[in-house]
């Protein structure tokens, strides 16, 4: 048994070694100072122990030079610690360009993961060794935290927003995945594993795991199923801005402001359409809050939003599914803009609220 007691976590990412290096430095510096203080206290306590009740002591009030010394010296070491810690943190907060994006949704009490090619997993994350991967995380309910000790990284997974982190796994193996932000009854059960695999094994795993098309394709299916194309498609019946080339562009809003069209903006526009209305368009879109989850395919609202965003991200000019008259408008959607005849809804050649992405 004793041989199985680990004292140090495995190192399985490029960051792990750097964090451990910082640990050694911190242990060395703080350990030496603690030892110094302890030895001094014990030495003074023994050497200057009270020998008789009439002992007299010198009246030493202090020393400005000593005070200066033990103020400035710690400060110097503190700055080194600060810089070291900040540089690791800075690197972790900047994912490398082009890393594949895996979406993670936390939910009481499980982790639901979607790969770019559409593979879905629960409480397991398969990754290839030697390649960076970016994680985009959100939560369905309360705050969770995605913690992989072997990678020395964790990030709070916050409902209502997307956070990102990334890893570059360096060693094949199976590692703990913990939820480390308390999230209710079964918090301790919200655990899983990160499986880091060799290139070949990973490709085999990808091929052998059922996926209903890529994330973007699944998003396209949802787009059609929810009949988003009723309004968001070109033609005489267009009642909402086209979403082609939307992702990453700057959108001008009705209230005069601008916003960059990212995942968070797309998510907000689907759930709270009236929060940010595109310039030149009327706030006629109904909310899709509560209508996205699909019990049959165990798709949660946040997962559906991720799929829709993935689809919109890939949408290039001319690719919007063409609307056919056989679909009615979604439940709750006004069939025509308030106070205007459909014919008077002029479709501009290019919606005025949007600039071309750079």
């Amino acid at each position: 048994m004793v041989a199985e007691v680990p004292l140090f976590p495995e190192q399985a990412s490029t960051i792990a070694g750097r964090v451990d290096g910082l640990l050694y430095f911190l242990v060395a510096v703080t350990g030496s100072v603690t030892l110094l203080v302890t030895v001094l206290i014990l030495y003074f306590a023994v050497k200057y122990r009270r020998r008789s009740d009439g002992d007299r002591t010198p009246r030493i009030l202090g020393s400005f030079r000593l005070e200066l010394f033990w103020t400035v010296t710690p400060l110097f070491f503190f700055l080194v610690m600060f810089y070291w810690g900040a540089s690791i943190y800075n690197d972790v907060s900047r994912p490398p360009d082009g890393a594949p994006e895996v979406y993670v949704v936390g939910k009481q009490w499980m982790w639901k993961i979607q790969h770019p090619d559409g593979q879905r997993e629960i409480n397991e994350l398969h990754l290839p060794v030697g390649r960076p991967v970016k994680l985009i995380l959100t939560s369905e309910d309360v705050i969770h935290d995605f913690f992989v000790p072997a990678f020395r990284t964790k990030v709070d997974v916050i409902p209502g927003r997307y956070v990102t982190t990334w890893f570059h796994p360096t060693r094949v193996g199976t590692y703990h995945l913990f939820c480390s932000q308390y999230c209710g009854t079964n918090h301790a059960g919200m655990v899983g594993s990160v499986v880091v695999m060799g290139e070949q094994d990973y490709d085999d795993w990808l091929a052998g795991t059922r996926a209903e098309g890529s994330l973007a394709l699944q998003g396209r299916k949802l787009f059609l199923k929810l009949q988003c194309d009723t309004c968001h498609s070109p033609g005489p019946h267009q009642r909402a801005p086209l979403l082609e080339n939307l992702y990453g562009s700057t959108v001008h809003l009705e209230d005069g402001g601008t916003v960059t069209a990212d995942d968070a903006y797309i998510r907000e526009s689907i759930l709270y359409p009236e929060a940010k209305v595109v310039q030149g368009w009327r706030p006629i879109m109904p909310t899709f809050k509560g209508q996205l989850a699909d019990k049959g395919s165990e798709l949660t609202e946040e997962e559906a939003l991720i799929q829709l965003a993935a689809f919109i991200r890939t949408l290039e000019p001319g690719q919007t599914p063409v609307r056919t008259e056989s679909f009615p408008a979604p439940v709750g959607a006004p069939t025509r803009p308030k106070g205007k005849e459909p014919a008077s809804v002029v479709v501009p050649e290019r919606p005025p609220g949007r600039e071309e992405p750079p």
Binding site: T30, I41, L61, L66, G85, N90, K154
Partner: protein, 551 residues
């Protein structure tokens, strides 16, 4: 230019320690206690109350550690476990650690150490105790009728939406008890400003008073923010107004900002008075002037100010902007500097002293050891890259227990033993007390040192079950906790015993120089026979013929 020759400097000649009238025998009966406005009696009321809270919180900790003996959570179920650690945190933080030193030792000794007859507002002082027990009763009721499972941090949206336990009564109890903190803080600030004895300048103020003054400022400024944050959670739960819950249009991180704006300074509410006590103990038992009085005193004020500027270091992994995190990281290092200054000055005070190994000194040295380790591991957490790994793991648990239990409780025990003769007129049993100090120190190290390793290995906090490879370290920690429990129960027994059987103490058993020792033990209701006139600082242990007193 004249000099005064004295071997045992005293502001006022102590009256003969004849068994006369004192605050304990001035009146009898329950009514004389429950309606008292004597700060000393109120301190005793608080002592009884917070001691009860400490052992209730300790009972919860005992069950937590027992449950963690095995990886599978076999003692209690998950919901019960979650309620236990919430109860432990809520009772220990708000009903023991935050109030304990100010309301017990501060209440009793702040007026005595500045030569005053009472606090500035004696009736407000009594009211603060009633508010406190009312808040405590609310919270205890919430816990007994079903408990609450949010953790003592009440993070939203879990607390405002997801939890189906007694969140509202618990929060109400905490908000109510917060008003007691505000009343005490206000009372202390006014008393220190307005009621110092003639000649007791700010530069002659005992360091315990400096630290209580700094603490009171934090209590006054931070507690209202806590009351607001917790009230907003109540409002969101009751009226479904979107403040923190994103599905109602709120921001869950807003709560963390508000909560830690109080709760980080709260750590210094807990530890600053402890630091003050240690300054008193080291000087008394080394019979020596404090090294660097000005630096130690201003370090308290520096900590009080900086403590308000570091709250977001609790949120480094909560989606914080990189540059914001860097600012809070560097400010967190800045707040460590005054703490380091204090530790070095205490060490230097021992140099060429006359060190007497009495129990209070052992507690004080234990404080320095444990507080230093707690502070040093705080440096790990302030490093952003390191915090990313150990945040929300047992590393954090171990770190803040070193500060708040190893630090605050150790200092409180030291102070309680040091002033026990003054409070009760009886000596505590020396041998048992030294044994208790040793048991607590060893038990503490055995309990919490393994948790640093557990945390670095990655064991998250608030886990009812855990992977089997963490079991050995958890069993070690639980074994240490059983030793620690003995260490805390021991003083409960022998201090009560000493009330009847302890040696009579006399006015000044330590040969200490503070004003509180220049009056009989237990003190008369008015504290002093005549208002003392102070002509020199509080730590003049050396023969004064070398010193110019007037000139």
């Amino acid at each position: 230019m004249s000099t005064i020759t004295q071997y045992v400097p005293q502001a006022v000649p102590p009256p003969p320690s004849e068994p006369g009238e004192n605050y304990l025998n001035a009146a009898f009966g329950l009514r004389s206690w429950l309606l008292t406005t004597d700060h000393k009696r109120i301190a005793i009321l608080y002592l009884v109350t917070v001691t009860l809270m400490f052992f209730l919180g300790g009972a919860a900790a005992t069950l937590i550690r027992l449950n963690l003996m095995t990886p599978y959570g076999e003692l209690v179920n998950a919901d019960t476990y979650n309620k236990l650690f919430t109860m432990h945190g809520v009772l220990m933080v708000w009903f023991f650690l935050v109030p304990v030193i100010p309301v017990v030792l501060g209440n009793f000794f702040l007026p005595m150490m500045i030569g005053a007859r009472d606090l500035a507002f004696p009736r407000l002082n009594l009211a603060s105790w009633y508010i406190f027990i009312f808040g405590a009763a609310f919270t205890l009721w919430a816990i007994t009728v079903g408990g609450v499972d949010t953790g003592w941090t009440f993070y939203t949206p879990f607390s405002s939406k997801s939890s189906h336990t007694n969140v509202i009564p618990t929060l109400t109890g905490i908000v109510i008890s917060g008003f007691s903190s505000i009343a005490t803080g206000l009372n202390f600030v006014v008393t220190v400003h307005r009621m110092r004895a003639p000649g007791l300048t700010w530069g002659r103020l005992p360091l315990f008073i400096w630290s209580l003054y700094a603490t009171s400022i934090i209590l006054l400024l931070a507690t209202p923010v806590l009351a607001m944050a917790l009230s907003l959670v109540i409002i969101e739960r009751v009226f479904q107004i979107g403040i923190f819950d994103p599905s109602l249009g709120g921001d869950p991180l807003l709560f963390q900002h508000l909560f830690w704006f109080y709760s980080h300074p709260a750590v210094y509410i807990m530890v600053l008075p402890g630091m003050g006590i240690v300054s008193e103990l080291i000087t008394c038992f080394a019979r020596k002037h404090i090294f660097g009085y000005t630096f130690v005193a201003w370090a308290s004020i520096g900590i009080a100010v900086l403590s308000f500027l570091v709250w977001a270091h609790h949120m480094f992994v909560a989606g914080q902007a990189v540059y914001s995190a860097m600012i809070f990281s560097i400010l967190s290092y800045a707040v460590a500097v005054p703490s380091a200054i204090k530790v070095f000055n205490w060490t230097a005070t021992l140099y060429r002293g006359s060190v007497s190994y009495r129990a209070p000194l052992l507690f004080a040295l234990g404080f320095i050891g444990l507080f230093t380790m707690g502070g040093m591991t705080g440096l790990f957490l302030a490093a952003l890259g390191m915090d990313m790994h150990v945040h929300d793991t047992y590393f954090i648990i171990a770190h803040f227990h070193f500060i708040m239990v190893g630090g605050t409780v150790m200092a409180y025990m030291g102070g309680l033993h040091y002033w026990w003769p003054k409070m009760t007129g009886r000596m505590y049993p020396e041998g048992w007390s030294k044994l208790a100090a040793l048991i607590i120190f060893v038990g503490f190290i055995l309990t919490f040192l393994p948790q640093f390793v557990l945390g670095y290995l990655g064991m998250p906090r608030r886990y009812h079950t855990y992977p089997p490879e963490f079991q050995v370290l958890n069993v070690m920690s639980s074994a240490g906790a059983s030793i620690l429990a003995v260490g805390y129960l021991l003083p409960l027994v022998y201090l009560i015993w000493s009330l009847g059987y302890g040696e009579p103490a006399g006015p000044n058993p330590w040969g200490a120089t503070g004003l509180e020792w220049q009056t009989p033990s237990p003190p008369p209701t008015d504290n002093f026979v005549a208002t003392p006139i102070v002509t020199y600082g509080p730590y003049e242990y050396s023969p004064l013929e070398e010193t110019e007193l007037v000139g």
